[in-house]
Symmetry: C2
Subunit: 608 residues, 2 copies
């Protein structure tokens, strides 16, 4: 049943040698890796207006200079990341770059931030996409959480199938979204040029605004920079590109930067000229689309592709999170299971954990994105800052030919990212303070895990010359519950092992029972010694463990090994197991984990 | 953590020898076992009026003759059950009586009905009690399901602590409820006698009613007989009484019958005289109390004790369900786990399962009792009929001295119970049809389980002389993952077993890896043969299982036993386990359940 369902959802297993085929060409990579960044224009411009409206509608003209600032920031980031792609063709992004150039702690800060940020990517994007859908179809309001969770499950299954197959499905919506926004911007600009949109809707640039302050402008700028989340995705995923991967990745990055700049400027300008007021019910893009086309098929086309790209933006998280987890797991900071490739060659554990974490986040925030976006953006700009700073040090240390322009580019990138991070802390502290608790905690956890792996490695390595103690003999303990074929089977096995001593142990709950059993036993197995233990509290494990302890203590002195042989009958059908008390399983787990005895299970397979 | 919480909630474990102390004296037994029956007066009279109101308020006078019919039914049942108590002093109630006298199938019909009925007892009583609370405090409306679930959890914990301790807590509310209703009835009758309540509120007995029919009267009678649910509880729980248990149980039964008759008659009469109209929001008792006392402290005392006894009525289910489950499990019709006494000597598994099932029922019916009561009452009257019929046959077969009056009493009981069951089917088919699907299903399940247990018993019994095949030798397979102390440890153990052949098996995912490993192995363990398997799909289990199959096939021909020795390192702390892929656990489970090999786990305990 379950394996069949798995095959149906995920597809046939792939051989390890099929890995090469899973790589991405540029067109598919642009779709798969830039949906996060491109979809940000669906909420970035709106975030600027949400801050400015606190002063008044006349302040909306400030969105134009703020947008120019965001575009400068974008240019700096794109150029900086282009250099990272060539310097680190094996990918890894902020974690690897920071670790290699700045040291372990900055690397872990970047890695920890990003790990959580990818969960936020999924939660924020899917929730925003769901909002877009419920905006267009108000009857669906109130089902946001359910819809969002369904999308996360859908994406998780898609990614478990493998990255190329996902890309084929995901490419169309991304390109349709770009097309839709280009049409919207073009028609919007045409309407403005022909004067169909009256210029009275907006306040002219330079209008004096009462109550505006540098604090508010910085806050609006920081909010607007949330449109840049996701630009780092490509630099993290270079190994997913077809060869030559750095060249292809770099070209894809530039294409993405260009598209993002065009769409962002277009939407900000239209929103400003149309005088759009941000509202809790209708998104800014929805308002622009409605004012441009009315509620006709073009409106639904734009809303539909916006919703789709937002939901698929979450997919960037699915590409990036498992790869980052692999890098962290290779360095032993997170559990080794993230290194295992699943049936379809994707890092299944990372994909599944990401899905679960996002669903939990969606449930606890009830699919409301407003409170998550600042944390999300900050979680991106901290690693931005660290990786650019790392690049600066790299250039200074290595000083390759023509390093000076590269150094300047990364310095600008680092400086701006740092300033943006600082602005977030200063202007949105109430929404981002939790990162100050979370980052130290996760870094402490990273170190605990690493310490454990190192301790285990030390103890297992043969070079640590702790001599293995020789085994001089074997004492066998067989817990028995009755005179049955199962017990007979186990006793035969014990005899065949030519042990030095075999002890059968019977735990009785009632005194009368003991003597009867001992008599029967003497007749049945006269040559195997039976020990009877009485249990006051109707527990088998407690008296048995005490007995095993006593035997082990004596055996140890003579370098004897104690083996507990557990007779277990295996029912023919799985559901039969609930009809039998699983004492043998409990005994095994208890002895193995708490005592230094070998536990042997002798199965007796029932035939009906 | 968890064990401490368990100790706090449930108390210290009790020795098996402390069992005697857990028995009940008559006062406590009356409280614990009759709360179900007595609490039924909180909804029984109301059920009659709900049917009569469909004709009109003038029909309310029919509640008096109907109540007389219910009282006759009660008398017959009490007398019949009194005979059952003496005839079956070890308890068991309808299941045992029907099984012994009528045969297995009627026994199982009775047992199956009751098993489900006790779940309904808990669900209905707790929900009705919650209703009483939310009637008095309307602000709590809308939280019914949550409150009801909290009460079920509370009762479950109480019963896991053990039956006597529960009784001490439960005795007071039951007696307070009886006191409260007696005061209510007394003051009500006084008011009627002094003429404070005008006789104009009710229609005189004998008033002709348009539209009344036998169907409606029978329906009202059946509804009213739901006030008798719970009278069988005492006869099921005789072993819980102090010695001489049958005498004590019989006295308790008579006391309960008397109290029930008085309370039921009183409430029906007051409801009739006051002209109370049943309403969805306020219970009949609440209306009577309000009209008698106003909304003062006496009103809240009556509502409070009513709510308490209703919730505690659920406790009857907790006393009866585990005992019935023990009887069914002894006959191998339900899983053996119901036979195990927990730390506090209660049958914990029955208690826990009952709690979970009731919560599920409360959730799926949203704590609305109206639809459950008919099913609940029918589930009681089917076993009533069967056990009384069984008693009839018993008297006819055994013919003890003076059997004739006993036979007549049971015959009347059987006949009336049968008629009531029939009336339920005829007049409330839409609410009780599901029992016609459910009963055959559960009886089929009972037989499946019994068949399995019998098959297992046959196969395990030594008398079935299938000769155990001798073990001529031992082939040992050791799956190895690297050159470590863990593997060294396991190999030392394997060597100490003086096996005929030891095979180390290494599963590699990459071709390059294989040769390197083989070379290292030759240097390290030159005298143990290494087999290298290549896994295309990154699975360890598949190639390993195939290999084990091949070895087992060869070994079988020579009567050799195959043992798989799994090296496993045990981390020092529990949480460390999530940091290591649990391949050894998977391998063990897979081999043990699917193949006929002995699986030995050699632990290597890490020290840090």
């Amino acid at each position: 049943m379950l394996p069949m369902l798995k095959r149906f959802l995920i597809g046939r297993p792939l051989k390890s040698t099929e890995l090469g085929e899973q790589r991405l060409n540029k067109t598919k990579a642009l779709a798969i890796l830039s949906s996060d960044a491109l979809s940000s224009v669906a909420y970035g411009p709106e975030q600027i207006l949400i801050v400015l409206i606190t002063v008044g509608m006349t302040a909306f003209w400030y969105s134009i200079p703020i947008a120019i600032g965001v575009l400068l920031l974008l240019t700096a980031l794109i150029l900086s990341y282009r250099q990272i792609i060539y310097a680190y063709p094996h990918g890894g992004g902020a974690y690897v770059v920071s670790k290699n150039n700045l040291g372990m702690l900055p690397g872990l800060i970047a890695g920890g931030s990003l790990l959580v940020d990818y969960v936020l990517t999924v939660a924020v994007s899917v929730s925003a996409g769901t909002d877009a859908i419920t905006s267009a179809f108000p009857t669906l309001h109130g089902h946001n959480v359910g819809i969002a969770i369904a999308f996360v499950i859908f994406l998780t299954v898609l990614n478990l199938r493998g990255v190329t197959e996902s890309a084929s499905i995901l490419a169309y919506p991304v390109y349709l979204f770009v097309l839709a926004l280009f049409i919207l911007i073009a028609v919007g600009l045409y309407n403005i040029a022909t004067g169909e949109i009256p210029p009275t809707l907006h306040s002219p640039i330079g209008t004096p605004v009462a109550g505006i302050s540098l604090f508010i402008l910085l806050r609006a700028f920081a909010s607007g920079s949330s449109a840049l989340t996701g630009v780092e995705a490509i630099s993290n995923a270079i190994p997913n590109f077809k060869d030559p991967s750095p060249v292809n990745a770099s070209k894809t990055l530039m294409a993405m930067g260009g598209l993002l700049a065009l769409l962002f400027s277009g939407i900000v300008y239209l929103a400003y000229y149309y005088g759009v007021i941000p509202s809790a019910d209708v998104t800014v893009i929805s308002q622009i689309a409605e004012m441009t086309f009315g509620r006709n098929y073009m409106y639904f086309f734009i809303q539909g592709t916006t919703a789709l790209i937002l939901i698929l933006a979450a997919n960037t998280g699915y590409s990036a999170f498992p790869l980052l987890a692999v890098n962290l797991a290779k360095d032993k900071f997170i559990p080794r299971m993230f290194l295992v490739r699943g049936d379809r060659l994707g890092y299944s554990n990372g994909i599944i954990i990401l899905g679960i974490a996002s669903i939990l986040l969606i449930i606890s925030f009830q699919a409301e994105t407003e409170h998550l976006i600042p944390l999300y953006a900050l979680g991106v700009f901290i690693p931005f800052t660290l990786s650019q700073t790392g690049m600066m040090l790299k250039w200074i240390r290595q000083k390759p030919k023509g390093w000076m322009p590269k150094f300047i580019i990364n310095t600008i990138g680092a400086f701006i990212s740092f300033i943006v991070s600082l602005i977030f802390f200063l202007t949105k502290f109430t929404q981002v303070w939790s990162i100050l608790l979370f980052l130290p905690f996760i870094i402490w956890l990273f170190h605990r895990i690493r310490k454990h792996y190192e301790a285990v490695g030390d103890q297992l390595r043969l070079t640590t010359c702790e001599p293995s103690s020789p085994i001089e003999g074997n004492v066998i303990i067989v817990p028995v519950a009755g005179l049955t074929h199962v017990v007979e089977n186990s006793l035969n096995y014990a005899k065949a092992l030519s042990a030095d001593q075999i002890l059968a142990v019977y735990v009785s709950f009632e005194r009368d029972d003991e003597k009867k059993f001992e008599e029967k036993w003497k007749k049945w197995q006269p040559d195997i010694r039976l020990v009877t233990l009485h249990s006051h509290y109707r527990s088998i494990i407690n008296p048995l463990t005490k007995f095993v302890d006593t035997v082990e203590h004596k055996a140890k002195e003579a370098n004897y090994q104690v083996t507990v042989i557990i007779p277990q009958f295996i029912p023919k059908k799985g559901w039969h197991n609930i009809l039998h008390n699983q004492s043998s399983l409990l005994i095994r787990a208890f002895l193995l984990y708490r005592r230094n005895v070998v536990v042997t299970t002798v199965p007796y397979h029932l035939k009906k």
